[in-house]
Subunit: 96 residues, 2 copies
């Protein structure tokens, strides 16, 4: 299923900047960045829970925000993008 | 239906800062901000097209990015948020 992960991390402090790097790194393990703080992740429910667990360990609930939008399995016509940063379609094989 | 709108607007120029204000203002007409550049919009298909049309008129396809994620009508258990900036549940009536 396609899950959109978006985050706002407060980077006013050095620890905030570190949290941002960690959150971004974790999201990268499960999907692809489509905007500065938005990732498309093709994951099953186990991987989703694993990703969530890892993210909830590194973010600060007092000043950061994490959103998970489950777009479902049939996501092709539910995601529309316009403008720059067009990205690979996760579902299609990458041919080199 | 619930549509998540997220945007990245290049604000390196004065015109970029203006585009950001316009994009944000338009999204505000259709939903509520849940993160810095992410809105939850409860709209029907007509309103969705109207919002898209307005946004596509003000953004710059060369350097801005717009994403629309259609989470569908039964969205309650498809959207999970953690941390600060908890927001009203659009679907429930606001009682004062």
């Amino acid at each position: 299923m396609m899950v959109i992960v978006s985050y706002d991390v407060n980077t006013e402090t050095a620890s905030g900047k570190k949290r941002l790097r960690n959150v971004s790194k974790i999201c990268n393990d499960y999907g692809q960045r489509v905007q500065n703080s938005v990732f498309e992740c093709l994951v099953d429910s186990t991987k989703l829970e694993e990703m969530k667990e890892r993210l909830l360990k590194v973010y600060d609930e007092e000043c950061d925000s994490l959103y998970f939008f489950n777009v479902g399995k049939k996501y092709e016509n539910k995601v529309q993008s316009y403008g720059c940063k067009q990205v690979l379609d996760l579902g299609k094989p990458v041919v080199f």
